[in-house]
């Protein structure tokens, strides 16, 4: 089995997850172990095998494009950490 060296800091950035140096080291070792286990799949011959995205015997489900009742703004905002004027408040994203 090859050694995988997952770049935890980089992947954590992609995942929008802040990690400490301690976590980088702990997760790095653990995830390398998991990835080495997963590497076994690379030895399988999968030529000509179609992927299965999910097991349900259905594809492309449509519904009529018609308006229907939805949650009112006051309720939709009821779990928000910060809200005002029927809007979610976030840190500034434009200068």
């Amino acid at each position: 089995m090859g050694t995988v060296n997952i770049d935890v800091a980089y992947v954590a950035h992609l995942a929008r997850l802040k990690v400490t140096q301690e976590e980088v080291e702990a997760f790095g070792g653990q995830l390398d172990g998991v990835l080495r286990h997963i590497e076994a799949l690379t030895r399988l011959d999968l030529a000509g095998i179609e992927p299965t995205a999910h097991a349900a015997p259905i594809h492309n489900v449509f519904r009529a494009d018609q308006p229907r009742p939805s949650i009112p703004p006051s309720e939709a905002l009821s779990n928000a950490p910060l809200a005002a004027n029927d809007l979610f408040i976030t840190p500034k994203i434009v200068e």
């Binding site: 997952i6 802040k18 995830l31 998991v34 799949l41 179609e50 992927p51 349900a56 949650i71």
Partner: protein, 482 residues
């Protein structure tokens, strides 16, 4: 008679005979919760007054009229907390009923309480809960299994009549095995997932945990059915599962996969499951050896697909619309990253990182696509097997309940414990776990689970086999020593 420990059919008869009212059942459950929940930590929230008020309005003529059903903390019940065992959703209140909750209410049932679980259903021990681990009622130093540990412990200990759980890689069946109750994962598409907080969307299913197979059949019948709000819900008839329980096993043929009896599995588990297979043969079933050759790749492919889908599903927890938000962020990206750092526990972080890695540029074909192809092979294994048998018999887990803390910092060892349940999710078929014996020797007596795997949408057959096994063996009458 303690109402909290009675099966649904008995409660239903007594409710209809006006010997008891729904409040009596709730009061019995409440009493046990107040007595035992401190030790077990099965419930993370309950609101008895609301449940009592709902009980007073129950229509007793309905199939589950007046019967309380406890709910895993990952299924939305309007007006109740829904935290998924996570800090990031602490204080979150669900805005709508999941379809299964609407279906339960239409059957007359009363959704009660919020049951402990591994954070976002990621785990096999219930130790990954922000609200503390749930404990196994047979030995409180041991794990109840996971991720539906609270559901299994509550049902086994009589803190609930029945419960709903969710199963992505074994999260209903493995805790059912560890706690000595019945747990059923329905076929993918049988039960709507609308209102279930998503973990791995191509694998998740909601199902019942109960003390008897008949109760599982009754609850499954109530929650099943096509739902236009879930595009993976399959529009197929729902049989009367409870009505077809009495068919016995004579004339049925059961496959025993050689890959499911592996070196290193607990000898007590192997003994009990082999004895269960012999028992079913004695009862008139034919037993054939089968092979599911891609079993050895189940865990590797699952631990690509499930984390990949989880990393995508959990992107919505960013501190903007609901849940926890970090206070000291410098900009919006920093706000997301710190919120998620503070809100998620270790195992969820591990899986988000693993999922993000396998989906990142250049790795998709090597990991996710490859795992989806392996899923095709695993599905074919089962299709081929079901050409020669009506159901498949296996252990549910390779060991009985392990000690809390034993595997906490060893994710691979924890993941390997899912070896017998994962393939059922990957193939999208159905499986049930029920008690088939106990460990002997010194120490606590621990339950052992038999898994019965069925063809797609053939829950009726596995329920019938499970019911016959249960009714001809003594195991379901055993109660934890509380």
């Amino acid at each position: 008679m303690n109402l909290a420990l009675e099966p649904i059919s008995t409660l239903r008869a007594r409710l209809r005979g006006r010997e008891i009212c729904p409040r009596d059942i709730l009061a019995a459950i409440r009493e046990r919760v107040e007595e035992l929940n401190l030790a077990l930590n099965a419930y993370v929230h309950h609101d008895w007054d609301a449940a009592m008020a709902e009980a007073d309005r129950a229509d007793l003529s309905l199939p589950l009229g007046g019967i309380p059903v406890a709910i895993k903390d990952v299924i939305s019940v309007r007006g109740q907390p829904c935290t998924c065992g996570s800090r990031i959703l602490q204080g979150h209140v669900a805005l709508y009923d999941a379809t299964v909750i609407g279906n339960l209410r239409r059957s007359g049932a009363i959704p009660v309480g919020r049951l402990n679980m591994d954070e976002f259903a990621m785990g096999s021990s219930n130790e990954n809960s922000f609200y503390g681990p749930c404990r196994n009622p047979w030995d409180t130093s041991r794990a109840p299994g996971g991720s539906s540990g609270g559901s299994a412990a509550a049902v086994a200990a009589g803190l609930a009549v029945a419960a709903l759980g969710s199963d992505t890689g074994g999260s209903i069946r493995q805790p059912a095995a560890f706690c000595g109750c019945v747990g059923l994962k329905p076929t993918y598409g049988r039960v709507s997932r609308y209102g279930l907080v998503a973990f791995a969307s191509s694998l998740d299913q909601i199902g019942p945990l109960t003390r008897t197979v008949e109760d599982a059949a009754i609850v499954l019948g109530a929650i099943s059915g096509h739902d236009p709000a879930d595009c993976t819900s399959v529009d197929t008839g729902v049989p009367d599962f409870a009505a077809s329980l009495g068919g016995g096993v004579r004339g049925l043929r059961f496959g025993v996969p050689k890959e499911y009896f592996i070196p290193g599995m607990d000898p007590a588990v192997e003994r009990a499951v082999r004895a269960a297979i012999d028992h079913l043969a004695h009862e008139g079933a034919e037993i054939v050896e089968i092979s599911l050759p891609h079993t050895e790749h189940a865990i590797a492919s699952y631990y690509i697909i499930a984390p990949a889908e989880a990393s995508s599903n959990l992107a919505r927890f960013d501190g903007v619309r609901y849940g926890h938000r970090a206070k000291d962020a410098t900009d919006v990206i920093d706000c997301y990253a710190k919120t998620r750092q503070q809100g998620f526990g270790k195992e969820v972080k591990r899986r988000i990182l693993l999922g993000t890695y396998v989906l990142s540029s250049g790795y998709y074909d090597a990991y996710y696509l490859r795992a989806q192809k392996v899923r095709t092979l695993m599905r074919r294994d089962f299709e081929r097997a079901f050409e020669t048998c009506d159901a498949i018999l296996t252990p549910t887990a390779p060991s009985p309940a392990f000690k809390l803390g034993e595997k906490l910092d060893d994710p691979i060892s924890m993941y390997l414990g899912d070896v017998f349940t994962i393939a059922v999710n990957m193939a999208g078929i159905c499986g049930i776990s029920l008690p088939c014996g106990f460990t002997g020797g010194a120490g606590a007596r621990l339950p052992i689970g038999l898994q019965i795997i069925g063809k797609p949408f053939d829950e009726a057959t596995i329920l019938r086999v499970a019911h016959h096994y249960e009714q001809t063996t003594p195991w379901h009458r055993e109660r934890p020593p509380l």
